[in-house]
Assembly symmetry: C2
Homo-oligomer: 250 residues x 2
């Protein structure tokens, strides 16, 4: 198995989920293989960064304002490469917005969350994708551009009110208040997309930050599932699955 | 904050607990400090190893039989050092048995689980310590030797039957079967130590592997607690606390 590198800490609960998913995928992969000793695991190198430093050094639209931020992530990627990582993930959607800038000079393949979600959409013939996530995710063009390469039209909740609702749901889930959360997400989805449009337009909903998946209890480990007529894609699970596939492919 | 290095994957659920503890300690530490942005986190570098490789390359009493195993851990420690770690933990009790061998040539301080448990014993004036853990832990002299430096007499369940009981409890907890587990541990403790001896001889019980702490639900995040007359020390929580203290100490 190839050694997996993970840029983590953005934030740390998401890093735990990625690490757990990969280890559980390895358990399942080796379950029916006759092996001496405990299930083999890929070696995994995690560079967990300081979220405070990353957030307080976010840039603006000014040229050069992202330099410190870019360097912080680029250095972490460089250390993963030097530490023997043969493929790399960034365990968070938000930093993907600057993937081109932060991956400069890194010669190890970085598997992006867009690739993970995009190839899931292709497999399931999904043409439209409502992306729910953090504020930076729902206000930048990055996710839309990332999906464009896979022939998928990504869009965000259309109004400020709807975006605020998403952020409030995330905030409650962050505090582990899960009661009624999946119903609140479903209600919000129907405010963004007319119910009949979901099927007609081959539309799915992307859970684009780790907290959102907590709403779905037993389904939170699935990369895709259907609940009450809505097709969901879980970005971080799909991302971890893509990494594990690459890790066991020669 | 100093950068923390962790040798993980032995096994992976334990690595998650160490990482989570350290992040939660940083949250608590910064809770009442006026800071812009989310709570600062130490940078954490995790080398998660392949448990199968480690287990299948365990040595015997033959000279040289541990060479492959020792090199595997020594290389991981070396990569943590090169990756900028300023202090290192091994997130498992078992590999500590060969700490001298695997730390050769590593110039970054390695904070051992013995140091963590030993200094907790000193703080609480504990003189005797019943250590419950995996088979290698309960059959090697390493934990006893480690505690000796702190003036603590460590001992294991005295008979094969009692040791087997511990391993059966761990096995059930590994499958997340927690019902009745803390009672089973208490019963076992009283089979190893007469009830009155616990207080008279200043005896505590060391939860010497991560699974055991799962039995104690809400208390599993505490480095020490008293339940039904038994003083418990949680080795991995104490270890994570020691690391975080060192991380914020200049």
């Amino acid at each position: 198995m190839k050694k997996i590198g993970i840029v983590g800490g953005i934030g740390w609960p998401s890093t735990i989920e990625y690490y757990r998913h990969i280890c559980e995928l390895s358990l399942a992969y080796h379950a029916n293989i006759n092996i001496t000793g405990p299930a083999p695991m890929p070696e995994i190198l995690i560079e967990s960064l300081n979220l405070n430093f990353a957030v307080t050094n976010r840039g603006t639209s000014e040229p050069g304002s992202w330099d410190v931020w870019d360097t912080y992530f680029n250095n972490a990627l460089g250390r993963l490469s030097k530490g023997g990582a043969e493929l790399i993930l960034i365990a968070a959607v938000t930093p993907h917005a600057r993937l081109n800038e932060i991956s400069k000079g890194i010669d190890v393949p970085i598997l992006s969350v867009y690739e993970a979600v995009g190839s899931q959409c292709k497999k399931q013939n999904i043409k439209n994708l409502l992306v729910l996530g953090t504020k930076p995710t729902m206000t930048s063009a990055a996710f839309k551009d990332g999906m464009h390469n896979y022939g998928v039209r990504a869009f965000y909740p259309q109004t400020e009110e709807l975006k605020t609702e998403v952020l409030e749901i995330i905030e409650r889930l962050y505090q582990n208040k899960t009661e009624g959360a999946s119903e609140a997400i479903a209600k919000l989805v129907f405010s963004c997309v007319p119910e009949e449009g979901l099927i007609l337009n081959k539309t799915a909903v992307c859970l684009g930050c780790t907290e959102l998946s907590v709403a779905f209890h037993d389904l939170k480990g699935e990369s895709s599932f259907v609940l009450e007529g809505i097709s969901y894609l879980n970005a971080s699970v799909a991302h971890a699955e893509l990494a594990f596939e690459a890790c066991v492919t020669q």
